[in-house]
């Protein structure tokens, strides 16, 4: 019986060694041929996955690996050389811009959402700012029911939050730390959908029947208003590349910026980038 145990162990060791070596080899070669690694924003993640699916259908043999980790993780990873493309849902800060190429692939609105039963359907940017800074704490003050406002935000490093901070909160006001924090667009949507007195912000493309997106400064969050610049809360979806894009990566980016890629994105509710 002992011999059989040794044999089994030997086989096991060989198998794992083979797996490891095989894997290692494929890792070395895979990086250059047929493999594109994308890391970044949780907001951009679903759309990049769809683009990857569409792209892989046109080019079999290419594998696009997409990780969600956050806008900042995407930017840092691509600068460290760990991935080929970093995605971000906010503008890069000056400190992050060195040595990278920034390509806008789409524009996304941020919708301010409330529970469908909420009487209000419009707020000014200032009112939203005051809600999030905890200066207005009851819906009554805005013409709604007498109930405290439960405002929901994303975590600090989120690209969506970064964009919201920049556009709605501005330089001088911070979101109060007593706001509820959820870790993705979807979970904010679910939280607002189930709490009658909640308010939150999510990617416009992810608004569904469960919540209502309100007007900001009188402009409804429609595509027309977005395209015409009337709806104020818009942020870019960015691809960040170290140096210049070449080879496989360049082909993928061309696909994304081309008609097929943009069709995928527009179908989901994103706007095409402004052609500069």
């Amino acid at each position: 019986m002992k011999i059989r145990v040794y044999q089994a162990l030997l086989v096991l060791a060989c198998v794992s060694l083979a797996l490891g070596i095989g894997g290692g080899c494929s890792k070395r070669t895979g990086r250059q041929e047929g493999r594109i690694r994308i890391v970044g924003s949780t907001s951009v993640f679903p759309f990049v996955e769809m683009l990857a699916e569409a792209y892989e259908q046109t080019k079999p043999g290419v594998r696009v690996d997409v990780q969600a980790g956050g806008s900042t993780v995407g930017i840092v990873s691509v600068r460290d050389g760990i991935c080929d493309i970093g995605t971000s849902s906010r503008e890069l800060r000056n400190a992050e811009k060195g040595g990278v190429t920034i390509i806008e692939i789409a524009r996304d609105g941020i919708a301010i959402i409330v529970h469908p039963s909420n009487k209000l359907d419009s707020l000014t940017k200032k009112q939203i700012r005051d809600i999030y800074a905890k200066k207005i704490t009851n819906w009554k003050g805005l013409g709604g029911d007498d109930a405290s406002i439960a405002f929901v935000t994303r975590e600090e490093g989120s690209g969506t939050r970064g964009a919201f901070d920049e556009i709605v909160m501005g330089q001088d006001t911070r979101i109060s730390p007593s706001g509820l924090v959820q870790d993705s667009n979807g979970s904010i949507r679910e939280a607002v959908a189930t709490s009658p007195h909640a308010i939150g912000y999510i990617s416009l493309a992810l608004v569904n029947q469960k919540v209502r997106a309100i007007k900001v400064d009188g402009a409804a969050p429609t595509h027309e208003n977005l395209a015409e610049g009337k709806y104020p809360v818009v942020r870019p979806f960015l691809f960040v590349i170290k140096g210049q894009a070449k080879g496989q990566v360049k082909e993928f980016i061309d696909f994304v910026l081309g008609p097929k890629g943009q069709e995928v994105l527009n179908k989901e509710g994103l706007l095409s980038p402004i052609v500069k």
Binding site: M1, K2, V5, L12, S16, L19, G20, G22, G23, G24, S26, K27, P46, E49, M50, E53, R63, D65, V66, Q67, A68, I82, D183, S184, N185, G186, S187, R189, E190, A193, K210
Partner: protein, 279 residues
């Protein structure tokens, strides 16, 4: 306060305790039942063997099942030799002394490290420092750290339960220490050891916090251990986050729970066999 007749007090107490125990069982049945009932409708061959479409909102969960199996297998491959070896050493080759006390303390503390802290360590050490990247390898090495103490403890208990007389017979017939271990003690303790391993499988499958930052969230079937792959538990978590209580979420959860239930029932059956064998 009027003193309660002790017999009445006992009756009331028994009732309350029964209520408690009943609530616990009801809680289990309710949680498992709710998820499985809502999810079982979604599970069919296409679901189990298909690929996800549209970000997992439709389609199947095959890549996640494969990733889960892959991760669990590699974790076991790493932690079983280490765990079993440690257990054999602690029970057969030493007496209680400061060395064994230190080792046991280490094992207990390792067991107590929160899974997110292990995930943090795994992220910095395996993913970044050793440059394994987000991969099944990083994930399984982290998870193996998690289940190692568990395997050590359960193997130790199983080996200890083997009656001393068995070992004495081995020596009496001229065997060496190692022979007594491999030919007598281990085969006898095997069901008990297997129970521990099977329960560890259950833990691996459900693990999320330490895996999400090490094995990554890729939707593809991992081609090698250096590829990233999303396990079923993580897929469920991400689905709940993005889509709430959707069909796919229920389906994934139901698959997860059913596999864990099967694994656990198997462990119980093994344990029964073990107890029968050594008593």
């Amino acid at each position: 306060m009027r003193r309660l007749n002790p017999k009445k007090a006992e009756l009331i107490a028994k009732g309350v305790l029964l209520l408690f125990a009943g609530t616990a069982v009801v809680a289990l049945v309710a949680i498992v039942g709710y998820v499985v009932v809502n999810g079982i409708g979604v599970i069919n061959l296409e679901f189990l063997f298909g690929r996800p479409r549209s970000m997992g909102r439709e389609g199947g969960i095959l890549p996640f099942i494969v990733s889960s199996i892959y991760l669990t297998a590699i974790s076991l491959l790493v932690s079983i030799p280490l765990g079993l070896g440690s257990a054999i050493y602690l029970t057969e080759y030493t007496t209680e002394g400061w060395a064994t006390k230190a080792i046991r303390f280490g094992v207990d503390c390792l067991a107590g490290v929160p899974s997110i802290v292990l995930g943090l360590f795994g992220f910095m050490f395996f993913v970044k420092l050793l440059n394994f990247g987000w991969s099944i390898l990083s994930g399984s090495l982290t998870v193996s750290l998690m289940i190692l103490p568990f395997i050590i403890r359960s193997s130790e208990e199983a080996i200890r339960a083997v009656p001393q007389s068995y070992r004495e017979v081995a020596f009496a017939t001229g065997g060496t220490k190692w022979q007594s271990v491999t030919r007598v003690v281990l085969p006898c303790a095997l069901p008990g050891i297997m129970t521990g391993i099977v329960l560890a499988i259950g833990k691996c499958v459900g693990e999320t916090a330490s895996v999400i930052f090490t094995a990554g969230t890729s939707l593809r079937i991992p081609g090698s251990i250096f590829d990233s792959g999303r396990t079923l538990a993580i897929h469920f978590y991400l689905l709940v986050r993005e889509t709430g209580a959707s069909d796919m979420a229920y389906g994934s959860a139901a698959t997860l729970l059913i596999s864990i239930l099967i694994v656990n029932f198997f462990a119980y059956w093994l344990m029964r066999r073990f107890i029968a064998r050594v008593s």
